[in-house]
Amino acid sequence: MTLLELRAVDKIFGGLHAVRGVSFRVEKGSIFGLIGPNGAGKTTLFNVITGVYTPEHGQILFDGKNIAGLRPALIAERGVARTFQNIRIFRAMTVAENVMVAGHHLHKASIAAAMLRTRGYDRDEHALAKRAHELLEILGLAELASEVAGSLPYGSQRRLEIARGLMLSPQLLLLDEPAAGMNSQEARTLNDQIRFLRDQLGLTVVLVEHNMAVVMNVCESIHVVDHGETIAEGTPAEIKVHPRVLAAYLGEEEPGKAAST
């Protein structure tokens, strides 16, 4: 069953055609990789899917419904969580507070109830804190819960973003370079955590990543873009030997010139 489907999506910034006719399907419960050289349009695709940008053409079907052009908060509410390439945590707030912010659906109490601290408010607050703690536990951040988020090391901040996204109880999790800035040990842990999210929480994961060890290890299918266009799709094994992918990453061998230089 398809959870996310892009149909011929175009995104244009002035004269720059950042995404051109990209289509792909992400099956429910899969781990899907989106790769390509720098500036290929991967993050733009994430921004189009999550509503930060409205695509000029094409459809984005999430769970069968077109979400193209909806406001980010509405798309998030429907079950699309994301992390950011350049970490965007709430730096001055604690780790636990960061996660709790994403828990509106667990906190139904009104503003008046919050001001008067009613029984219902306390109950929701308690449920929220408990859920946040569970998620921090999953990502190995539980003992840092009362630390100020901005003071965490880079890798922990990335995991905090994932925990915060999970608080939305999403169906789909978009990870934008989750392994960036992580050492190889942390990256291996990340692999396990991504699999855990899929296997135990039933999430569908789409990741943009430059760390090929992570991509090839964890992804089941991979979509490659370059200059905003699809150049290949397939399993990790197929992508590794695909001539257009190699050309995009390593440059093309020009006949006769290769030997001379």
């Binding site: 709430f90 919050a114 996204g165």
Partner: protein, 336 residues
């Protein structure tokens, strides 16, 4: 159980404010009492403004406008209510209390509605638009009152009675309202809504990606902030014989910003200290008149250099007393 405990706490608080009032009236001259009342009104202004400028990270520099709406609204409604309420309840203290508090709530309502009207278009946008719009609003409102003949135009509104507005405002009512507003705003700040407001301050894009209804929350917080300024305005109006447009000049908005920056943007305890500080320092600098703004400017520069986070940063006094880790430290000082 909770309801019983709370009623007891509220009753005890009101009783102790009442007892304090007796003490204050015995111990201090009328001049000092007036400064204490002004300090209380300032605390309401500062705590309300801090919700929007400190916690949410938006910047209003026209809050004197909302105070003016509350002041005129409360004064007008108070005058119009006096007849019917006196008719129903006689002329005792109870009737006065009913008129006064209904008038204050009406002022808060008017100010809150004008907050909605100002906030709805300007808070959709990111950045400094709110500052520009509120600056304009503050001036427009003052000029409107300057020309509204049914509110006395430039002379000010003094009600129908030649002796001016009734002086309802006293220590008891000011500090009952101060306590209520501080508790309510504190509860709001340390709730899921407060977390969401702080998240908007920290990173609006990320807040939105986490399903935070950013515009709705900002507008709501702004309206609440405007309504508290309205209460302060109503208390202010009934402290003197009338309300005049020049009570709500741009300097008044600057006073409010000084209050929250001195105390620490984002801290309720800081706002309380800042409110008291400004009331006292205004009195000490009375002879300087508008030149006090020069001193304020110097003071702000010194604070920005020596202690950019203000007296308390974003910490609360009870965090310091408990020596616990602050819940939400290091406000973004660049938003100042």
């Amino acid at each position: 159980m909770r309801a019983i405990i709370r009623s007891v706490v509220v009753a005890a608080a009101l009783l102790s404010i009442y007892a304090l009032q007796m003490g204050v009236e015995l111990a201090f001259t009328e001049y000092v009492q007036r400064i204490i009342l002004l300090a209380g009104i300032n605390v309401i202004l500062a705590v309300g403004l801090n919700l929007i400028n400190g916690t949410t990270g938006q910047f209003s520099i026209g809050h004197a406008g909302f105070m003016a709406v509350g002041a005129y609204g409360a004064a007008f409604v108070g005058v119009k209510l006096a007849g019917p309420v006196h008719g129903a309840l006689g002329t005792g203290g109870l009737a006065d209390a009913v008129i006064f508090n209904l008038a204050l709530l009406a002022g808060a309502l008017f100010a809150g509605i004008s907050g909605l009207i100002v906030g709805m278009p300007s808070l959709r946008l990111r950045g400094d638009y709110l500052a520009v719009v509120t600056l304009g609003f503050g001036e427009i409102i003052r000029i409107l009152f300057n020309n509204a003949s049914f509110l006395g135009s430039a002379t000010g509104y003094f009600g129908d009675d030649p002796s001016g507005l009734p002086a309802y405002t006293n220590f008891f009512w000011v500090f009952a309202w101060v306590s209520a507003i501080v508790v309510l705003i504190h509860n709001l700040t340390f709730s899921q809504t407060g977390r969401s407001l702080a998240a908007i301050r920290e990173d609006e894009v990320a807040a939105e990606a986490m399903a935070t209804p950013t515009t709705r929350l900002k507008v709501t917080a702004f309206a609440i902030s405007a309504a508290t300024a309205g209460i302060a305005g109503g208390l202010f109006a009934h402290m003197q014989a009338g309300v005049r447009p020049e009570d709500f000049r741009f300097e008044k908005s600057i006073d409010m910003i000084v209050m929250i920056i001195v105390g620490g943007l984002g801290s309720i305890s800081g706002a309380i200290l800042g409110g008291i500080f400004v009331a006292v320092s205004l009195e000490l600098m009375r002879d300087l008149q508008q030149y006090r703004l020069v001193l304020y400017a110097l003071l702000l520069i010194v604070i920005m250099i020596v202690r950019p986070q203000g007296l308390l940063g974003t910490r609360e006094l009870h965090h310091l007393l408990r020596r616990k880790k602050p819940a939400r430290p290091s406000a973004p000082t660049e938003s100042v």
